[in-house]
Amino acid sequence: MSDLEAAVAAGVIGAEDAHRALLQATVEVARAIFGAKAASVFLLDEETEELVFEAVAGEGEGELIGMRFPAGTGIAGWVLTTRQPLIVDDLSADTRWSRTAAESTGYVPKSMMAVPLLAEERVLGVLNVLDRPEESRVRLSEVDLLGLFANQAAIALDLLQRARLARAALAGEGRLGPLARVAARLEGDDHEAAFDLLRALERLLRETD
């Protein structure tokens, strides 16, 4: 591994851990603020059209990470479709809810708040808050608060995804693989022609943008 590659890899791997910790902290604070039994973040895997547990606080913590569901179903599916938050006080009465999916996690909630994680025009996933205290009536200010948490979780999730893409690129997977390998080859002298080519490529990309 070249020095350059090693330096970038160290940054990327460190960043991935930090971003995961930020995401975990976000769901923990969300759970605490709402006094909920659990809070979690789903990442939308666009290739497989699945939702993946990325962070869990409370019920299911430490067990559910990596578990997958079809993206179009359940409350989360509705939230992805409409890109709108949803608050359901009685899940058993809501036809959008999938009891089967809930049972497969080992914890069946009674109520749920779910909010889309949006980064500009993309939807990255869903933040869920399960079983707030039953006596606390929903207020519109709570919907606003949920939106603030969603913003924070979306930023953490976006960074996490970028770090993973960068890692995949370094490992030679994905579309950016060649770029990472070229960067590794540019160590040392006698690559003026290659640098000229890179500068030309940069100009070309700028002109076609």
Binding site: I87, P116, R139
Partner: protein
């Protein structure tokens, strides 16, 4: 002052589109009058929404739900085998409950409106923008007086086409009543000035609504803790701008039931003057 505004009818003979000849001025006399004081009694007193055609652009509407009653027509936007979008008559009802909820709210305020359902939601989380546009285009073609849109898109690639459709609706006197997003994000069409945009207030009265002097959200309707119509003849406790929107749509239908020739800008003025935070509203 009488409600002379009602006497205005569309001109039968077309005028030139871009200019007004002197001799044509007499042909376009329109009533000046809003009354000196627009009251709720003037605006919709005695109206049941009878004669007003309301379109619910949503997930479908359950047929014969006790809180919705008769649905005059149900269509769905669907992709045919060639991948083109078509608007077809549909008997599947509501795929999730959301559209039934909106229809029930409109019915609760304006019991005698004619309801039509256009299903554009429920076919999965992808590709919704094109379906939404086709459904809205159809609703505008059909010249419904009120279109309830408890949905929006965050995709900017649809903005130009949505804008054109919203303006077309405005000039055809098709009133688009559109939900604001529930989070502080950009989405459309509620941000357009040509529609009536709706957010939520926390009070429990369906006829309480507020004008917002600092738009883009122009009105707030009842949107917290509502028991709305849901699937299988049932109800569900819901919160959100999705349910505030049909409250304003229902009030618009009441006003149009009594004053059918109001233009969208006149109707917005009537809403402004009868809002709960307008000084003389009661």
């Amino acid at each position: 002052m009488s409600a002379a505004i009602d006497s205005h009818d569309h001109e039968e003979e077309d005028l030139p589109a871009w200019s007004l000849p002197a001799e044509a001025v007499d042909r376009i006399r329109v009533p000046v009058a809003l009354p000196e004081q627009v009251t709720r009694e003037w605006a919709w007193g005695g109206s049941t929404g009878a004669g007003v055609r309301v379109c619910i652009l949503d997930s479908g509407v359950e047929l014969d739900h006790p809180l919705v009653g008769h649905v005059d027509r149900s269509v769905a936007v669907q992709r045919n085998e060639e991948g083109e979008l078509e608007v077809l008559d549909d008997e599947a009802g509501d795929l999730c409950g959301h559209g039934t909820a909106c229809a029930g709210v409109v019915r609760s305020l304006a019991p005698d409106v004619e309801l039509t359902s256009v299903r554009v939601l429920g076919a999965g989380y992808k590709g919704g923008g094109e379906i939404l546009l086709r459904g809205l285009e159809w609703a505008v073609e059909q010249e419904f007086q009120v279109v309830n849109m408890s949905l929006s898109t965050t995709r900017t690639k649809y903005v130009d086409r949505l804008h054109v459709l919203a303006d077309r609706a405005y000039f055809k006197r098709v009133l688009l009543v559109a939900s604001a997003h529930n989070m502080p994000v950009e989405s459309f069409p509620w941000r357009f000035a040509s529609v009536i945009s709706v957010g939520s207030h926390e009070e429990a009265d369906g006829l309480t609504f507020y004008y917002n002097p600092t738009p883009p959200v122009e009105f707030f309707g009842r949107g917290l803790d509502l028991d709305v119509a849901w699937l299988d003849g049932g109800t569900l406790r819901c919160t959100g701008n999705s349910f505030a929107t049909p409250h304003i749509a229902g009030i618009c239908a009441l006003i149009l039931g009594k004053h059918p020739n109001l233009t969208p800008f006149q109707l917005k003025s009537v809403l402004y003057q009868t809002a709960s935070n307008a000084k003389e509203a009661a």
